[in-house]
Each structure stands twice: as C-alpha cells, then as structure tokens.
Subunit: 195 residues, 2 copies
Amino acid sequence: MSSATLAAMPRWEPDAEGRLARAAMALFDRQGYDATTVAQIAEAAGLTKRTFFRYFSDKREVLFNGSRELQDCWVGGINAAPPDAGPMTAVCAGLDRVAELFADRHSFARTRARVVADNPELQERELIKLRSLADAVRAALVDRGVAENTAVLASEAGVTVFHVAFARWVQQDDPAVFRQLMDESLDELRSAVAR
Amino acid sequence: MSSATLAAMPRWEPDAEGRLARAAMALFDRQGYDATTVAQIAEAAGLTKRTFFRYFSDKREVLFNGSRELQDCWVGGINAAPPDAGPMTAVCAGLDRVAELFADRHSFARTRARVVADNPELQERELIKLRSLADAVRAALVDRGVAENTAVLASEAGVTVFHVAFARWVQQDDPAVFRQLMDESLDELRSAVAR
C-alpha cells in the first residue's frame, strides 16, 4: 500500500462518534447551539473536522441521529410481539425496548432536551421526527394485520405516551424510571378518555 | 376630508378577504403553491397586491390564518363547559364548536389538505400549529383546575382526535360528518388504549 493510499484512509479513533457527541453536547450546553461550530466540536474531542463529518452530516445531526435508532428499536419490538398481541400490547412491547435503549442515555437526553427547548428550529425538527415515528409505528401495526384506523389511533397514543414520558424523564434524577413513566402516562391517557 | 386623505384610505371591497382566499386556493390547486405569486392571487381576485397585504402577511398565511380562529373557538368551548364537566367532556364541548365553525369550510379544507400534503415546508408549519393548539387546549384545562398531568394527556388526546377526524373529513364527500368522525376517532382511541 502506497503512503498516498495510507494518507487517504481514515485513522481509526476509539469511540470517535461518542467523543464527538459528548464534546458537542458539552459545548451546546455551555455556549449555546448557535454559537458552536463543527471546528470547535472536533477540537474539543481531540479529533479533526474530517472525522466529525464521517459520523455526522452537520452539528444538528448530533442531536437527531439517534431518532432512526429509536424508530428501529420501537418497530423491532412491535414486530417481535406475539402474533396474537393486541395493537397497544405490541406498541408497549416496543416501548419496553425503547426504555432499555435509553437506559444509559439519561445524561445525554437531559442536555439535549435543554438545547432543543432553547431553539425553535430544533423544536420543529423534533416535531417532524415525532411525526415520522408515529408513521413508522402505524406501518408496523398495519404489517401485523391491524386495521388502518386502529393502527392510526394506537400509534398516536403510543407516541403521545412516549413523548409525555420522555419530557418527564429528563426532569427526573433517576434514569431508571423511564418505563414506569411510560406506564403512568398510558394510565393517565386511558383515564382521560374513559367514559 | 382632503382628496389626499381619501386617496390614502383603503377602498372597501366587499368580502375582499374571502375573494383573495378563494382565488389563492384555486391557483394553489391548479398550478401549485410554489408557482403562485401574490400578484397572481390579487389579479385573480380582481384586487391589488396592497389589498392582499391588508389581510395576509404572505401567501402562506392564506392557508394558516384560520388556525388562530380554530384555537380560539376550541378554547372558548372549553371555557364555556359546565364547571363540573370532566377534562375530556370539556375538550369535546370545544370540538362541538369547532365542528360548527368548520361546517361551511369543507371545500376550502379539502383543497388546503391537498396543497399542504404536496409541500414538506407546509407540513412542518402544520405540525407547529398542531403543537400550539395542544398547548392552548392544555392551558385552558389547567385554567379550569385540571391537574397538569391530566391536562397534558387530555389535550394530546383531543388534538389526536381532531387531527385524525380532520384527515378523514377531507376525504369524504359529506361535509356534515365532521362531528361524527370526531366521535368515532375518540371511540377508536378509547378502544386502542383499553386494557
């Protein structure tokens, strides 16, 4: 292999993605999202801008690239639910997995929630991602044979439960309560719409 | 009154706002939202651009300036509900008024839904308006003494019911079914989350 080829190859950096994400969140939190540049993030992580762009298309993706993983995790849980499980049972089986996925992300999620809350453009992006999430959950239910109308309402209910519980979770000190908060939100939704 | 003062006064045009809105919707529908200019809208309505800007800040507002009226109508219905009405009963009292408000807007709503569905930027705007609507409904419930957590879930349920029923209503030929579609959506939500 020529030295030119070697120079063109990315150098492997242990946990480069995690280091970049943590550096970005610390900077967003300290000096604001708008004031933070990719160059600053890379420098704070001890990496290059080029390495940053191997993992993220822009600084916004540090905040949002987890949403695909969240969606896949939730849909995976729905797909793996027993065939005879009802729509909401399947939705909740997905939420069990989401709670596991998020178990070690409490600190990231708290900072992220503060950053997003301070920035209308990021809030809009968040709404779009929640809409995509609802569509994916609905489609997963339809794939299980759930009627379209029922799938729409069950997916909306699921996203409401997730969204409300998530907002409460980032306000709490104990990361372990996410699943419990989702159960409580679902109970509250059930009570709210009860005759 | 001098003629200079007269010249500066807007000439009153019967139903100028309605004519502009109808002209805009016809153009959006026929040639697309992006391709339509304010000058074209004004010309099609037989009015001036200046008159257009007395009613709308830009062409997008033709599609969205009704959302404030929707919100005020819904909140007004919640405020007028009997003091001992539960949260969801109050939310539904608001939806009764919304159904009345929309009774003669079916044709506008159908075209609007097509235009918004074709344009990602308008879809994002719609999501933001729905979020504001949920916040306003939640605040109206809290003003009635409903606990914050319950108000959050009841308002989310209400917006889901409205949103789902609206999407179905614009697919139907009979404008009179909106209230019925909201009842059906609430029943479906109730069934979806039932134990």
